[in-house]
């Protein structure tokens, strides 16, 4: 996807800090993701990449710095030079614009695939049942599960579950999709079908931030690659450059282990 640098950023993180107790997980993260961009985030486990992703839709509250999605502060409102915490309903409204896909799918096990996809439009947007169902059918068709509408998650493979989860996130028409290691819990032969769906999504111009260990996907689909370590962004740039000729020693050390 061609990225024009003049676009207003979709995500703008400035000096983001996050601590859990005495452990500082994010130690000043700066990142700009432009509309239509696919940003892949890699790094060793515990480097803060998942935490950073969770800060973008306020599943984690940041301790310092600013986080903006589509120009809007996440979790706060600025007025007269003062910050006000947003009420729960406003945070929920902000989250409607940001879809999230989890490592462990987190499908609602008591609902069929179609009901999973219909749930948020039905309860949050009050979409009529028939209309929501029609949309769910179209979305499930798009992720290649048009024949699984009335199947419960327990009867689906990991790859199928993750694709339902992607359809569920898309049902709210998000401007931005966050993927938290979407293929890490899958059997190797199921990884491809999920990556294919994500590739299609990127091709349609969706803005995506993907925390992943799939270097092939990052190289092929990503517009930018971000390497994180120790709660900071160590290096970022076009994926082919970063993967082929990393500048930083830590990036080299990490890539030598995973490539």
């Amino acid at each position: 996807m061609a990225v024009t640098p003049t676009d207003a950023p979709m995500v703008e993180a400035t000096d983001v800090h996050k601590r859990f107790g005495r452990l500082e997980v994010l130690q000043g993260v700066d990142l700009v993701v432009r509309p239509g961009e696919v940003a892949c985030v890699i790094g060793p486990s515990g480097c803060g990449k998942s935490t950073f992703l969770r800060c973008i839709n306020h599943l984690e509250r940041i301790d310092a710095g600013t986080m903006r999605v589509a120009g809007e502060l996440v979790g706060y409102r600025e007025s007269g030079g003062k910050l006000y915490e947003l009420r729960e309903s406003d945070i929920a409204r902000q989250r409607c614009d940001v879809g999230m896909v989890f490592q462990r799918f987190h499908l609602f096990p008591h609902m069929t695939a179609a009901e999973n996809v219909m749930e948020a439009p039905r309860t949050v947007r009050r979409t009529p049942r028939a209309q929501a169902r029609e949309r769910a059918a179209a979305l499930l068709e798009r992720v290649g599960l048009g024949d699984k509408l009335d199947v419960y998650p327990s009867a689906l493979s990991g790859g199928q579950q993750q694709r339902v989860a992607i359809a569920r996130a898309l049902a709210m028409d998000p401007k931005l999709m966050l993927f938290d290691e979407p293929t890490s819990a899958l059997d190797p032969e199921l990884v491809g079908e999920v990556l294919d769906v994500m590739r299609g999504l990127a091709g349609d111009g969706m803005t995506m931030i993907v925390v992943t260990h799939e270097m092939g996907f990052a190289r092929e689909v990503g517009d930018s690659l971000v390497f994180m370590d120790g709660g900071r962004i160590v290096e970022s740039g076009p994926p082919r450059e970063v993967l082929a000729s990393p500048r930083e020693e830590r990036t080299k050390a990490f890539l030598s282990k995973v490539l």
Partner: protein
């Protein structure tokens, strides 16, 4: 694929002498003898007086007691379940005052005997002669005589229901915490509010864990209602006691009570089976 394989070339089934289980035969024989002895006694022991059982099984006082048992069980469990859900949600609230209030309620109502609670509700007039609404240390807007509001029936209901709420609160809390936190996060990430997440996502899944112990509670309540005898109310067992105190037909009337209790418990068990199936959707092979 396995089926195809067997269809093309049916393999020779294993022929082996099965392991003998003499212990099972001994156990079966012992149980059969005991059952036969019990069956014989049921038929031949005059103490059971089956005609008397038949005479009282559908008698008016027994049926009136039965109706009271049912009313008390249903209403007390209703108070218990609704109260239990409210208390459990309060207990898990991030607000420490709300969580603390729920903890204190559970502590008091689980920590004192039900029989004492029943008596206290019945004699509430001794503690508070008038019940009213007003500002503490300030004016009272209206008040009523406690004894007119708290009849024996109301006291029985409050005693059973509010005590049950404390137990149900812990059962519901256990169910809510058993639901994976990822479910809450996924719902939150979709833009669902905390209330919507609780109603639509967490509670339906928690029900799977909540229903079996709640079934226990209902069955237990069915029999616990007989405690209302201490405040002069009556239900099935009290009615039966009153009859045999007068007629000295103790054994047949106890059988009458046992038969009714077993019948009601059986009906409740069937109901529980269907509830468990309903909330097991997506978890059991059924409905796949």
């Amino acid at each position: 694929m396995v089926a195809e394989h067997t269809a093309t070339a049916a393999p020779e089934p294993i022929k082996a002498v099965p392991v003998r289980h003499p212990g099972r035969w001994v156990a079966a024989a012992v149980i059969a003898v005991l059952v036969a002895m019990f069956a014989k006694s049921l038929l031949t022991n005059d103490a059971f007086r089956w005609p008397v059982v038949g005479q009282y099984l559908f008698s008016v006082p027994v049926l009136r007691g039965l109706v009271n048992t049912l009313i008390l069980t249903v209403l007390a469990m209703l108070i218990g379940i609704v109260g239990g859900v409210v208390l459990a949600v309060m207990r898990l609230s991030p607000n420490p005052i709300v969580a603390g209030a729920s903890a204190v309620y559970i502590w008091v109502f689980r920590g004192t005997p039900l029989i004492v609670q029943l008596v206290v509700w019945n004699f509430l007039g001794l503690f508070y002669p008038r019940l009213g609404l007003g500002i503490p240390f300030g004016p009272v807007f209206f008040s009523v005589d406690t004894n007119t509001v708290i009849s024996v029936f109301v006291a029985a209901l409050l005693g059973l229901g509010l005590n049950e709420a404390a137990y149900m609160a812990e059962i519901v809390r256990g169910g809510l915490t058993a639901v994976d936190n990822g479910q809450t996060e996924a719902a939150g990430a979709l833009g669902m509010s905390r209330g919507q997440t609780l109603r639509r996502i967490v509670l339906p899944q928690a029900m799977r864990v909540i229903v079996p112990p709640t079934g226990n509670e209902v069955i237990s309540m069915l029999k616990t209602t007989s405690l209302v005898v201490v405040i002069g109310y009556f239900e099935l067992f009290v009615s039966v006691q009153q009859i045999y105190a007068r007629t000295f037909q103790t054994v047949p009337l106890l059988i009458v009570a046992v038969l009714w209790y077993l019948l009601l418990t059986s009906i409740l068990s069937i109901g529980q089976y269907f509830l468990e199936r309903r909330f097991g959707r997506g978890f059991l092979p059924v409905g796949r």
